[in-house]
Amino acid sequence: MLLYIFCGKHTDEKTIAQLEEESGPEVFVTKLRRFIEMSATRIFQGRNGPQDPKGLVFRYLTDEIKTVANTPTGTFRFRDALSVDQPAVFKNFDFELFCDQMGLDGLEKSILALSLLDSSKSDLQQKGSLHPHLFSCGLS
């Protein structure tokens, strides 16, 4: 099924949403991971990469991340998407830069950062614990 989605055989949003609903959060997690991977050049180097020359995937990713960052009950999907070591983009993931590129506000950043505290990866946990303190309250 994922093959269908990512090979472009089912590209309309309705079909993807329907497939996600039927298959549980794993599909969404895989999609998010794939979107991040495809947009990595744009996110971390500021230019469109060969996998997303027109920045279309980046725009989809931005929409999805905005949605996730506004639904604290579902942020485990974001955490799960980042909790891998491969491909290389997920190693030493620059969470702060990622949030900035997604155009998130302080609340949205904090919502995502809190989800990282439940991660099995200690570096993600650390990033999560530092970030709310840095940009959440402005009272430190």
């Binding site: 506004n70 639904t71 604290p72 009950t73 506000d105 302080g106 609340l107 904090s110 919502i111 809190l114 989800s115 505290l117 999560g128 614990s129 709310p132 303190h133 940009f135 959440s136 309250c137 402005g138 009272l139 430190s140």
Partner: protein, 184 residues
Amino acid sequence: MNVLEILSDPTRHPNMEDEELYTFLNQFLVKHKSFNILNTAQEAAVCTAVKRRYQTSPPPPKTRDFVNKLDQQRTFEEDKKASFVDLFKRAGWTATASPEAVKEMFRRKGVINGNVPLTDGDVLAVIKLMSTTFSDFDARQDQSWNPENFGKVAAQLVRPSFIFSRFITNDRCQIWIGMLCSLN
């Protein structure tokens, strides 16, 4: 714009549902407490910001109950650490506005069902505070300490032999003297 500003501004994330806001606050203030993300003052500031958000509209029930519960817990912890006179300093003259208000102050300090963890010194400190910050002008408008209310409740809850009861008159000066004498 930081989280406090966003939380206190109802125009930011106006469609955030009760369950979602509650989940965020629970993660932020309770679930991940072990990470020491926020200190007590910051936690209080988050609760205040949420309350400010719903100043002009009814707060969603789950979020409202959660914030109120945290506020109560924090007040309870602060009361335990604070001295009796500090409670009155914080509350101001409204703490003696009625016998019930005074009783509430005693209750916050653990004076319940005959249990009196206060000394004469604690009570004396409050009398000193009231007498030194009393405003006769404000009192005429019922906006200053009311020693009658304090004395009556103190006599009832802490010191049955409190001779203050003999001094219930309209002369507040006499009341102060009476209360101080009864403790010496």
